[in-house]
């Protein structure tokens, strides 16, 4: 049985009268890609926001590497090993790709009082940044300003930023959004590679890609998880077919 790195229990988030997240429980295990699918507004991004601590939960708990982190802030959870990517690229456009990753890597070794030592001279952060760029395939673009990268490359940089902090749990919010076929293939093989030593939560619209790569699939409808299982059984689940896959009425 692989280790459970992240466990959410009964997560609920209300915005006024709207229940954006309704009693969702899920486990992320090392060596697995756990995909979350659902229509727009089903609560997928809210789930990532609550798990990462960007917004607080109205009820329920989050356990990271066996510790209860429900009351910890987003930066604390990040330092504890949680990395997230955003659906809209959240990068530093005025800095080079390398500097983007170096800055993210710096989170692990902040030393803010050391005003005499140059940030760029730090071998530890530079090495981490370089590895992250190499992993996503941006090695040749390391000196390009992030704002000048193509859309696909910005998406890759988004993942690299996430990897620069060396997290154990990855929460990826539609990493393939707007990518071409070739870039999507590349991202899928990267995910395949990453899952060996990470637990990956993948929110994705592209259902074909999801069923190819995911080890487990959770289906969300109106903030609630209506099914959570291995892909074959989720695909066969009549409730899922009716609610989401849209071909449950076949004769």
């Amino acid at each position: 049985m692989p280790r459970t790195l992240l466990r959410a229990s009964g997560l609920t988030r209300r915005f006024g009268g709207v229940v954006a997240l309704d009693d969702v429980s899920l486990d992320l295990r090392e060596g697995e890609v756990h995909a979350v699918i659902g229509t727009n507004g089903a609560g997928k991004s809210t789930l990532i926001n609550v798990l990462s601590g960007e917004i607080s939960a109205s009820a329920g708990s989050v356990e990271l590497l066996g510790y209860d982190v429900t009351r910890l802030s987003q930066p604390s959870r990040a330092l504890a090993g949680l990395g997230r990517s955003y659906q809209r690229s959240t990068i530093f456009p005025e800095l080079t790709a390398m500097e983007n990753c170096r800055l993210a890597a710096q989170a692990a070794l902040q030393r803010p009082w050391a005003f005499w030592s140059a940030a760029r001279a730090c071998a530890f952060t530079a090495a981490r940044a370089w590895r992250a760029l190499e992993r996503v395939g941006l090695r040749d673009e390391m000196d390009v300003l992030a704002g000048q990268l193509s859309h696909g490359k910005k998406r890759q940089l988004e993942i690299a930023l996430c990897l620069s902090t060396a997290p154990q749990v990855l929460l990826l919010d539609e990493p393939m959004a707007g990518m071409g076929a070739e870039e999507t293939e590349r991202m899928l093989s990267l995910l395949e590679e990453l899952k060996a030593d990470h637990a990956v939560l993948l929110v994705e619209h592209d259902v074909d890609a999801v069923f190819r790569i995911a080890d487990r699939v959770t289906v969300m409808v109106d903030g609630a998880a209506i099914a959570s299982d291995v892909p074959e059984r989720v695909r066969a689940n009549p409730e899922v077919q009716r609610a989401y896959l849209g071909h449950g009425q076949e004769p």
Partner: protein
């Protein structure tokens, strides 16, 4: 070569200011010293606005607190050590900056500007309307801070040449410190917060702590400027904390070029130069009485024509020249 070109203006001005006392009279030295102090004040705000992306409209309060703390330390005619008074002034400004930062950083953008303004007005009215330091008239210092060597006073810092040397030294020290800070991990993190705070939090930075630290540091350096000003002038008054002062320094760094330390210093020099220029009756005759009108128009023109400030001018000219060359080719 590129690097040499980049630091050339700084080296040249250093040499220039170094030889200035050889031929400048007391009036010119005093004017330059006043500008150095203003430049230190502008640099402190640049740390906040340019490096961290926090626009404060209450920065004058910290300068005033530094000045008033100096006056309190030098109330009687016993001279006190320059270093001791300086530290007290910076501590006083920092002590006020900490709660102000903690409270005002709970809000963002326009609200942040308004809250910083409110806290500065608080300082202004406390000094203006209470008897703490003789109310609206302000108060005189009983003595000047003393720089001594082995018990014997070295020189009188209120005199033109010594103060010129001291203020120039402090300006260089502050500039070097802020330049080091900008390339350090702390400076990188501030830049990251300015560009994309959300990503910084996601990476694991407690961004609020960083912003509070930057705010307190900026307040302390403004307090240092206030200390120098009080030492030279020999008196303090509530106008130091007025919003005019806070507004002027903000315009100064925008005019000089926000985002670069040289911009803050250039802005301070441009301000003093323009004021002297337009006040000159020899050049403008009767219009010199209404110098603020021309001054204001110049600032507006500068901000409109030079989006990157005065320090962005060489780059802009180079680009224009290149485009012209392309058209002719």
């Amino acid at each position: 070569m590129r690097r040499a070109l980049k630091i050339a203006p700084a080296i040249l001005s250093l040499v220039g200011f170094g030889i200035c006392p050889l031929f400048a009279d007391a009036y010119a030295l005093d004017l330059l010293s006043k500008t150095f102090v203003l430049a230190i004040f502008a640099l402190s705000l640049e740390l906040l606005v340019g490096q961290t992306g926090l626009v404060s409209l209450g920065h004058g309060a910290f300068m005033a607190l530094g000045a008033y703390a100096s006056a309190a330390m030098l109330r009687t005619s016993d001279p006190r050590s320059f270093l001791l008074v300086m530290i007290a002034a910076m501590a006083a400004a920092g002590a006020y900056a900490l709660p102000v930062a903690a409270l005002s950083l709970r809000v963002r953008g326009m609200y942040f500007i308004m809250v910083t303004l409110a806290f500065a007005q608080l300082v202004y009215y406390v000094f203006h309307d209470t008897k703490i330091a003789d109310g609206s008239d302000g108060t005189y210092l009983g003595a000047a801070p003393r720089i001594s060597l082995g018990g014997a006073p070295l020189f009188d810092v209120t005199r033109s040449l010594p103060f010129y040397v001291v203020s120039l030294t402090v300006l260089i020290a502050v500039w070097v410190f802020l330049a080091l800070l900008a390339r350090s991990r702390f400076g990188s993190a501030l830049a990251g917060i300015r560009i994309n705070e959300q990503r910084m939090r996601a990476a694991g930075f407690q961004t609020t702590s960083y912003k509070v630290a930057a705010f307190v540091l900026a307040g302390m350096i403004a307090g240092l400027a206030g200390f120098l000003k009080a030492s030279k002038d020999g008196y303090v008054n509530p106008a130091l904390a007025s919003w005019h002062q806070s507004g002027a320094v903000l315009v100064m760094i925008v005019f000089g070029g926000v985002g670069r330390l040289a911009g803050a210093v250039t802005g301070a020099f441009a301000f003093v130069f323009l004021e002297e220029l337009y006040k000159s009756e020899a050049l403008f005759g009767g219009a010199a009485k209404r110098w603020q009108l021309m001054f204001g128009l110049t600032i507006i023109a500068g901000v409109l024509l030079l989006p990157k400030g005065l320090v962005g001018l060489p780059d802009r000219l180079r680009r224009l020249a290149r485009e012209r060359a392309k058209v002719h080719a």
